[in-house]
């Protein structure tokens, strides 16, 4: 069970980071007129097509003492990045990036331009427009982004296997733990954990898909208004 909680903790950290970094990045991607934008879009989508072995291999080398990530981390914190929870968070953020960006981008691009113009004409700045117009209209996209990055991180295996080092409570996530049980021929424990994961994943997805879009918007609007009034 320790492994399951670790996975949930990791997934929560990763979706929080991806939400905070993903909204501005997706906003920029949705609105930028820059000609080279497609290059950045391709980079963001890379983890979708690259096998985890490629990412894991690059990360293992990059996190090493001769790699760029490893050097920066070493200088800042005095220890290496591989085999740490922080290392897993960084790896998972990269691995799950497209799962947060794509739904956000799709949602932002589908906001009616007229509304943005209207907002600007009425004197709202870009940030206010993002907060009061774009985000409320993109609630389903935001929820999808959070859930997908959370679920994708829970289901992550290859990258964690390659850079984690299998430390109980630190890097032994539930997918690794299940793999270990199968390796040790402990099928009973493996199936217990697998069943827990299956049930949890289904419940989360069912809640999200079952949630009415209107419910999301109804929840968001008063909350955002309250925040706005406070500012």
């Amino acid at each position: 069970m320790e492994a399951l909680f670790l996975s949930i903790k990791l997934a929560a950290c990763v979706s929080a980071i991806l939400l905070v970094c993903g909204v501005p990045l997706a906003y920029w991607l949705a609105n930028s007129q820059w000609r080279g934008k497609f290059l950045l879009e391709s980079i963001v989508a890379l983890p979708l097509v690259l096998p985890p072995t490629v990412l894991g291999f690059y990360l293992l080398v990059a996190m090493g003492p001769r790699g760029p990530l490893g050097r920066i981390w070493q200088a800042a914190f005095g220890h290496g990045l591989a085999f740490t929870f922080g290392g897993l968070v960084i790896a998972s953020v990269i691995y799950s990036l497209p799962f947060a960006i794509q739904p956000l981008l799709f949602a932002f691009e589908n906001v009616d331009r007229e509304l943005l113009h209207a907002s600007a004409v009425l004197g709202a700045g870009r940030l206010r427009t993002l907060w009061r117009v774009i985000l409320p209209l993109s609630v389903p996209g935001v929820i999808t982004a959070i859930v997908f990055s959370f679920a994708h991180t829970i289901g992550e295996f290859g990258v964690v296997l390659m850079v984690g080092g299998n430390l109980p409570g630190i890097t032994r996530t539930v997918s690794i733990d299940i793999y270990d049980h199968v390796q040790s021929l402990e099928y009973a424990q493996a199936s217990r954990l697998s069943l827990a994961l299956l049930g949890m994943s289904f419940t989360v997805l069912a809640i999200v898909y079952g949630m009415n879009r209107k419910v999301g918007r109804r929840l968001w609007a008063p909350w955002a208004a309250k925040q706005d009034a406070r500012c």
Binding site: L60, V61, M63, G64, P65, R66, G70, H79, G80, A82, F83, L161, M162, V163, G165, N166, L167, Y179, D180, V182, Q183, S184, L185
Partner: protein, 265 residues
């Protein structure tokens, strides 16, 4: 739909065409990760002698055991221990009488050449130094080399002091990657990997074999295989003087020659 139909037809056509081609004999071998270099060489020798192709898949023995139990189409299984082949024999998945010990694994402490510790002089004490922050070993829960590493550390009475430094590779090959990439500063790994091309320039100290229980490695011919005759021949090659010399060259010890099975006393 029509397009799918055509593709399906094409696939069937190609499938039957390839099935009609004369097949050169081929054996499929599942081999423990520590055998990588030795088995490549043995496969080459066999191909030269018999003209049969040897397809080797490397991986963790526990993984192979699970796969074979679930019908993986291997002809021959070289495990990193004796238990897994014995389990297969007990389950009736091995050809009777083919279970044999073919090699004995050796373990070393390995550090990169630019490490701040000299394991060739300091031996066990090197692992206690603060410069060594992480020590890579294979997972003792299911990897035979991991069990041997943990047993040797306990035998040297330093296990409790280095426990917090240990990181676990899924198999011995991954433990080697962890230290070769510099993410761990030392590793307890297989000699067969420590002398492989990518790691031969590092420093190593072999842990005396009496400090851990022997890493006896067993092999079996599998009943599910399609090519049992060639599989038996390949196993014979591995056990022959030539095969033993190859195994020794690539960092294994070999078991004493077994007496001939006929009742000579």
């Amino acid at each position: 739909m029509r397009l799918t139909g055509r593709i399906f037809f094409l696939a069937v056509l190609l499938g039957s065409a390839s099935a009609a081609l004369p097949q050169s004999p081929e054996i499929r071998v599942a081999a423990a990760a520590d055998l990588k270099f030795a088995m490549d060489e043995l496969a080459k020798q066999f191909e030269k002698q018999k003209g049969a192709k040897v397809n080797v898949t490397y991986g963790s023995s526990g993984n192979f055991l699970a796969q074979i139990q679930n019908g993986a189409p291997f002809d021959l299984f070289f495990s990193a221990d004796m238990d897994y082949p014995k389990k297969l024999e007990a389950a009736g998945l091995a050809e009777p009488g083919t279970l044999c010990e073919y090699a004995i694994g050796r373990i070393v402490i390995w550090t990169p050449v630019d490490a701040n510790v000299d394991v060739t002089k300091e031996k066990w004490a090197a692992l206690l130094k603060p410069e060594v922050r992480k020590i890579a070993i294979a997972n003792p829960d299911h990897a035979p080399y991991g069990r041997a590493a943990a047993a040797a550390l306990k035998n040297a009475r330093i296990y409790d002091r280095v426990k917090s430094k240990l990181v676990y590779g899924e198999n011995i090959s991954q433990a080697a990657q962890f230290v070769q990439s510099g993410n761990a500063q030392a590793g307890v790994i297989a000699l067969s990997l420590a002398i492989s091309p990518g790691m031969a320039d590092g420093r190593r100290w072999e842990i005396p074999p009496d400090e851990y229980s022997l890493l006896e490695q067993g092999a079996v011919v599998l009943t599910s295989g399609k090519n049992k005759l060639q599989a038996r021949q390949f196993l014979e090659l591995v056990k022959s003087a030539e095969g033993r010399a190859t195994l020794k060259k690539f960092g294994f010890a070999v078991p004493a020659v077994q007496p001939p099975p006929a009742g000579k006393r």
